[in-house]
């Protein structure tokens, strides 16, 4: 009897704080409440010019948020036009690069002796800074078309392609080769030909790794598109507009494009997360 009483008392000792902490829906909610609170504090510090005093700057170089917002409204047509340009580069580079990287990974997984070196070469390529690559490809693509806009686009897409191909190649290769112990023996027992093992074991096994790669390469494709715009022949894209406006000391307009770049990144990442939750449903 005495024990029961004691146990009850211990049970009651759970503080409100503990109970809130252990609450499942609070846990879910808190994952986005904290970032939100942090974001609101930052906005407050920015708008009240606290940030300006911390970083010894002024509202000309770091315009207030309402001003940036106002400009975004004013030039929304130009923003959209440049956004489309940047998104096109990022999207096509991401698509072609990821496909290329995956195909290379499959090739290396099938012919490890021939391919291993190729994977290292790609890895090395990806570590070349975009600022170094972009001018090279500008030069390289100068005979592709008489349309400066088009050949500029091709040059930028190539840079994004290379970055994404390296990321996908390295991750997909792991997905194709890091398989559960005994799975290969299992396929051998049923005398499965190599292509069946590839199709039924290696490819499905690589799907989560594809998303690991995309989580890096989706933001990277946008960043690369933006940076390669700096060096492109034809003046277009969010990144190029940031540069053009900073050169002209139009900081508020530059910040409007910076905010747009952030938005593109956030939206692309959300799309990726939704895709992932659909595709990886059965992988638990």
């Amino acid at each position: 009897m005495e024990y029961e009483v004691k146990l009850k008392k211990v049970g009651r000792k759970k503080t409100l704080r503990q109970r809130i902490k252990e609450n499942k829906s609070w846990q879910n909610l808190s994952t986005f409440i904290w970032p939100l609170v942090f974001g609101l504090i930052m906005i407050g510090l920015w708008q009240k010019e606290v940030l300006h005093s911390w970083f010894h700057t002024d509202t000309f170089t770091l315009p207030l948020l309402n001003k940036i917002g106002g400009i975004m409204g004013d030039i929304h047509e130009k923003l959209l036009e440049n956004t489309i340009s940047t998104v096109q580069v990022a999207f096509w580079g991401l698509l072609i690069g990821s496909l290329l990287g995956y195909l290379i990974a499959v090739f290396v997984a099938i012919f490890p002796k021939v391919g291993k070196g190729g994977l290292s070469v790609i890895g090395a390529f990806a570590s070349v800074p975009v600022v170094a690559m972009a001018p090279v490809f500008n030069n390289w693509t100068k005979d592709v078309s008489t349309d400066a806009g088009f050949r500029s686009m091709v040059s930028k897409i190539i840079v994004v392609t290379l970055i994404c191909a390296a990321d996908m190649g390295l991750n997909a290769y792991r997905g194709l080769t890091e398989i559960k112990p005994y799975s290969e023996d299992l396929m051998a027992i049923y005398a499965a030909p190599k292509r069946v093992t590839l199709w039924k074991l290696r490819l499905p096994n690589s799907v989560p790794y594809v998303f690991t790669a995309l989580k890096v390469s989706v933001p990277a494709s946008i960043m690369t598109a933006i940076v390669s715009e700096y060096f492109a022949e034809y003046i277009t894209g969010v990144g190029r507009q940031i540069r053009e406006n900073i050169v002209l000391a139009q900081y508020s307009t530059a910040w409007a494009y910076i905010a747009t770049a952030c938005l593109i990144g956030v939206v692309a990442y959300i799309i990726l997360m939704v895709l992932q939750s659909i595709c990886l449903k059965r992988y638990h």
Binding site: K180, P181, Y182, S183, D185, L186, M187, A188, I189, Y190, A191, A192, V196, K200, L201, P204, N205, V207, R282, Y283, H284
Partner: protein
């Protein structure tokens, strides 16, 4: 029990030698001569490192012998493997996470090119047999270890193989689940009349399940004794309480050379 039966598997002076990291030869298995009858339940029993898994893998053509040979139904292991006459249950349930339990059971049939309807019917039948009918649509990670291993067994039976090779299939399971699966396995074996080779390091398990226990001893791995298990069939768990069961366990334990087992 002892009617004249045909020999299903025959090993002649079978040996497997590995090379260790320093390039020295290590004999995993030497001079194994063994005859296994059709429909027989054989336990391969021994401590770690006695070559029992190596012996099983050599028979399944997952491991090339370095001396001697294996004949199965008058063919080489490779020919038998290519004819898909083996079922293999591994130590771990090798289920693919992205497939439902039923789709996992269908995998060998997909490789064999069975039609969709045939696959589905057969998989249902197998899942019913191992008591997983209600879990057909679950994914492997939603199942307990025991259920996963049962799905593994259902898959191995799916192609109706002549020979079932089981490599310590229940060693990772708790005692209650294990006993349940022992009874299930004997029931399925009786119904299907397969030849089963069952690797284990547990003496009671080997004695309870098999017709004959092949005792292997380590350093080097070799076949040191074969003990006939003349317990009546069908067997239930109560047989473990009998004096004769314990005599057989003692007899098996006494036949190890160099090194004792649990």
């Amino acid at each position: 029990m002892s009617e004249a039966r045909e020999v299903e598997i025959k090993t002649r002076n079978l040996g497997v030698t590995f090379q260790d990291n320093e390039g020295n030869d290590v004999a995993a298995l030497t001079g194994v001569n063994l005859e296994i009858m059709k429909g027989e339940f054989i336990a391969l029993l021994g401590p770690s490192g006695c070559g029992k898994t190596t012996l099983l893998r050599s028979i399944a053509d997952l491991q090339k012998p370095t001396e001697g040979d294996v004949h199965i139904q008058g063919m080489t292991p490779k020919e038998v493997r290519l004819q898909k006459k083996f079922g293999f249950v591994f130590q771990q349930p090798v289920l693919f996470d992205w497939r439902t339990v039923k789709k996992n059971v269908e995998l060998p049939m997909e490789i064999m090119g069975y039609s969709k309807g045939e696959r589905s019917d057969r998989a249902d039948e197998m899942l019913e047999m191992v008591g997983l009918k209600d879990f057909a649509k679950h994914y492997p990670k939603q199942l307990s270890g025991g259920m996963q291993q049962r799905a593994n067994i259902a898959r191995a039976f799916g192609l109706d193989p002549d020979i079932l090779l089981m490599d310590e299939p229940f060693s990772a399971l708790d005692e209650f689940t294990k006993e349940k699966l022992h009874e299930d396995l004997l029931r399925i074996w009786r119904a299907t009349n397969k030849t089963i080779l069952f690797v284990t390091h547990n003496i009671q398990e080997g004695v309870f399940l098999s017709d004959r226990v092949c005792v292997l001893s380590p350093h080097p791995g070799r076949l040191s004794a074969i003990v006939d298990i003349d317990l009546q069939r069908p067997r239930s768990l109560e047989v473990k309480e009998t004096a004769h069961f314990n005599e057989l366990v003692a007899k098996v334990r006494g036949s190890f050379e160099g090194g004792s087992v649990s």
